[in-house]
Symmetry: C2
Subunit: 154 residues, 2 copies
């Protein structure tokens, strides 16, 4: 088995690239940007989740009691930049999930340049994120986020 290709196939099926936002007074613009790459599996596939942690050399597995799922997740920006993005650039996704990935990738590169703590960069990130995971529900609409970000002095 060629594991890189297997992992891309599994991710096309069960993976998720997401960027969430939360209100944080401590942050320069009052909004925290949190990218996350995850793969979910029923708890009976805990071994596979642990093997992803080993494969990528980062991230962790955790159990969600709510849906009885194990989730492999990487939230660290430096791990995402060093390990997740190089993988999916070299072994690209084949489903429309590639569009989520491309937006996710751009957001992470903007964060690397500290653009998320500048109003124009944060606005760009909010716009990119609003195109992702169309079916999911969000706590804040892009309009809410822009309002939150704009209220803060820089």
């Amino acid at each position: 088995m060629e594991m890189h290709s297997y992992v891309t196939g599994l991710t096309d099926g069960e993976g998720c690239f997401s960027v969430s936002f939360s209100k944080r007074k401590k942050m320069v613009l009052g909004v925290e940007v949190r990218p996350s790459f995850s793969v979910s599996q029923h708890k009976r596939n805990r071994e596979l989740i642990l093997s992803l942690q080993k494969f990528f050399g980062c991230g962790g597995g955790r159990f969600s009691r709510a849906d009885q799922n194990y989730k492999y997740e990487v939230r660290s920006l430096s791990d995402i930049l060093a390990k997740i993005i190089p993988h999916f650039d070299t072994w690209p996704l084949k489903t429309s999930k590639v569009n989520d990935y491309q937006a996710f990738r751009r957001i992470c590169l903007l964060m690397k340049q500290n653009r998320h703590v500048q109003p124009a960069g944060l606005r760009q990130i909010i716009h990119l994120a609003s195109s992702m995971n169309a079916a999911g529900k969000r706590k804040y609409s892009p309009q809410d986020l822009l309002r939150m970000a704009n209220k803060m002095k820089v």
Copy 2:
């Protein structure tokens, strides 16, 4: 990309091995056994479904209006034996879906030996199938099927 490994990863995510039964007076035991391998995707990934048809050299894609999904499906026993089973024997699944696959595989091999038109073979197939896809719903319970099969004269 190594396509064999990719396809196994995608199948661990989105594939389904199933065996369904239907009442058919024409069949020797009054019960038809229908194995099926399928991979479902949102209609936006129609291209990927078509590429699976090319990859395996069998099966077909069809659109389900109900859930707006494209489904790649192989129902032909000879194609399953010649193309699907050799693939998953060589590039094995890593999730618990492998258990469904093993039952599916045994059923297809029994059918190859025409065991599904003999009462003992059909009973064995019904038992194997009852262990598969625990979450799915079935038109007939194993008990219903055994009753249907036993009623028929051979």
